[in-house]
């Protein structure tokens, strides 16, 4: 069994393969209809969000239901940076991460005093507070229901400092030193950040700090008995995870300079939980996989309507089509959430480790020739480390 102890792939290889897969997305997603910039950007952005969430939930087992607050704060900070300083995206991203980190420090400091469901409810309460405040009292900052938008009259101090010529008519667009951040350049910008984030998350998983978090997950009391104060570790994980969410939020603003309070609603927090679980919590690529799948299905399925379905099933006899189309129609188009809910239940019931675990089971089955179940379970445990 010595050979199974060695990880399947070297870490460097994992990053290279991951980077190649991400950067080549426009190519290999083309045949399945996923190749347009808006969707690709979403893959990358929600990938970052889910990877960050996984650092908290996957490593420590603390289920936060309030991560959307950090996403929202990141967006607001980024849009304010566009409005006040410059249309360059670098400061926007930095501010987004910074403010989300500060908020995460505050919320984490308070919420981490409790664990289990109490922690979930506390984070949920804080996120809902931020959401409700953004809608009501903080309207001067958040612009309430309309959402925070760019305006031509914005000061943009730095931009005006370096170029005295007034920009052309219409709203300026976000840019990275002259390169406009919409379409494919926007995607590549997000993708590069995603790869960096993935690398950092992998380093965290492999580091002593990550091991400590895993220890807290498996038995917090025992960690405390060894004389370790677990709180700072938890708080650090929470803040890092919040900063990831802030980064994702600011990237949402980079690709589309608009921030609305609905990004902070608890359903958005629920979505990232779904992504992480679907892919496999506690695994490296799982969250990215889950985020990609959910966003892909959201875009593809919700575009279906009865006409498209009727065409798709046109090879069947008419009477069958009349029966099939309404039934399938329940699950696609505006009802695609139904598919999501069902898929999610199936995953939690049969495959608590997510898609990654399913994949692993299949691989182990073939590796062991399908003869020894015991062996495959062992190998799986080791691979899961």
């Amino acid at each position: 069994m010595t050979d199974t102890k060695k990880p399947l792939l070297n870490d460097t290889f994992i990053v290279i393969i991951f980077a190649a897969a991400i950067l080549a997305m426009p190519i290999w997603l083309d045949p399945i209809g996923g190749n347009y910039p808006d969707l690709l950007q979403k893959f990358a952005i929600y990938g970052i969000f889910a990877i960050g969430f996984n650092i908290l939930f996957g490593l420590t087992g603390y289920l936060s239901f309030g991560h959307a607050a950090f996403l929202g704060v990141g967006s607001y900070a980024a849009v304010w940076s566009f409005k006040l300083l410059t249309m360059n995206v670098i400061p926007a991203v930095i501010f987004g991460v910074l403010f989300a980190g500060i908020l995460a420090a505050v919320i984490g400091f308070l919420s981490l005093r409790r664990s289990g469901i109490y922690f979930s409810i506390l984070t949920l309460a804080f996120a809902q507070m931020s959401y409700n405040l953004a809608y009501s009292v903080l309207t001067p900052i958040t612009n309430g229901e309309t959402g925070l938008q760019l305006a031509r009259s914005d000061p943009r101090i730095l931009d005006h400092l370096f170029s005295d010529s007034q920009a052309s008519a219409g709203l300026p667009s976000t840019d990275l030193f002259g390169e406009t951040m919409s379409g494919y350049p926007g995607f590549y910008f997000c993708a590069v950040l995603l790869i960096i984030c993935f690398y950092i998350s992998m380093r965290i998983f492999r580091s002593p700090f990550g091991l400590m978090l895993k220890g807290i997950k498996s038995n917090q009391n025992r960690m405390k008995y060894t004389g370790l104060n677990t709180r700072p570790y938890m708080l650090t994980a929470f803040i890092i995870s919040g900063m990831y969410a802030g980064l994702a939020g600011s990237l949402l603003a980079v690709t589309d300079p608009l921030a609305g309070a609905e990004r902070m609603q608890w359903t958005a927090s629920g979505e990232v939980v779904l992504m992480t679980i679907l892919g496999g919590a506690g695994t490296l690529v799982g969250p990215m996989l889950g985020a990609g799948l959910i966003k892909y299905f959201e875009n593809i399925f919700s575009a279906f309507d009865d006409n498209v379905l009727a065409q798709a099933f046109s090879f069947l006899p008419d009477s069958v089509v009349e029966f099939v189309v309404p039934v399938v129609g329940l699950f696609v188009g505006s009802g695609w959430h139904l598919t999501l809910g069902l898929l999610f239940m199936v995953i939690v019931i049969f495959l608590p480790g997510g898609l990654v675990e399913g994949f692993r089971r299949v691989v182990n089955y073939f590796r062991s020739g399908g003869n020894a179940k015991q062996q495959s379970v062992e190998a799986q445990n080791q691979a899961g480390e």
Binding site: L122, Q128, L338, G341, L342
Partner: protein, 338 residues
Amino acid sequence: MDAIFIQILNGLDKGAAYALIALGLTLVFGTLGIVNFAHGALFMLGAFCAVTFQKLVTLSVKVRDEGITAFVAYKEQPYLETWFGDTGRIIIDYSVPLSIMLAIPFMLLVGYVMERGLIKHFYKRPHAEQILVTFGLAIVIQEIIKAYFGANPIPQPAPEILAGSANVGSWVGLGNNLVYPWWRLIYLCFSGAVIFAVFAFLQFTTYGMVVRAGMRDRETVGILGINIERRFTIVFAIAAVVAGVAGVMYTPILPPDYHLGMEFLVLSFVVVVVGGMGSLGGAVFAGFLLGVVQSFASMNEVKEIFPGIDQIILYLVAVVILLVLPRGLMGRAGVMDD
């Protein structure tokens, strides 16, 4: 004084809905140890029982309108009116309270099927997974309702005799211009009755005694030869019924849409946690308390001092209570302590 009295009534009214949902949640948690995120969806299902019942009783046929003689006019006449005349009209008028008769068996069935079909397999799983699977179930229920009833709220009329407002002021000696909608008063009394019934069931029946014993120590009860799982299944169904009838009676106050459950769910979880996980009395008390606190926070005088306080007060109270009292207001030791 008038304003304060009205706010207390408002708060109790809001609190009644919270308390009913939180009661069911706690019952399920205390017995089965399941954190049921689909409980809000059960509330919503109850509300849609009322909608369905109303649709059923108002199934109409086109008949000649005798009132108009100048030309041939048609009007919709419900079958019930054609068949039973005035009795039919009364049934239609009272469709909301009557739909409880549909809701109770339906919710019992839903609760039973849900527990046997899904929840049963999650007793031993971690709470996080319970939350996730019931959350998924809630989405599914919600989407099915949306597919059949659409996304818009469907208003349900209260019986005509109760549509107006009661002159509450003259009852308590606060002047005649203090009025409060009848239906909300009815809702308050109704929820009081339901809560009383649940407590009486647990306290004064042998069945309830066994259930309470099971909540304390299910292993010992099992050793005594009692099939505690079976009883807990019934308790789950009862919790579903409580949520369902709460939903039915709430429809005239708030037109139900498919999203109703989720909105209430988040708040009721806050209520349950504030009251203390596993404490029935705590859940009811916290429900009414938070309702009253919320309605006071939405008074204009308070809002002038603390702008926006009405939006966050519930969460603020929850945060403070959780940080000061780790087990909530009335939580028992040993429940959900890590």
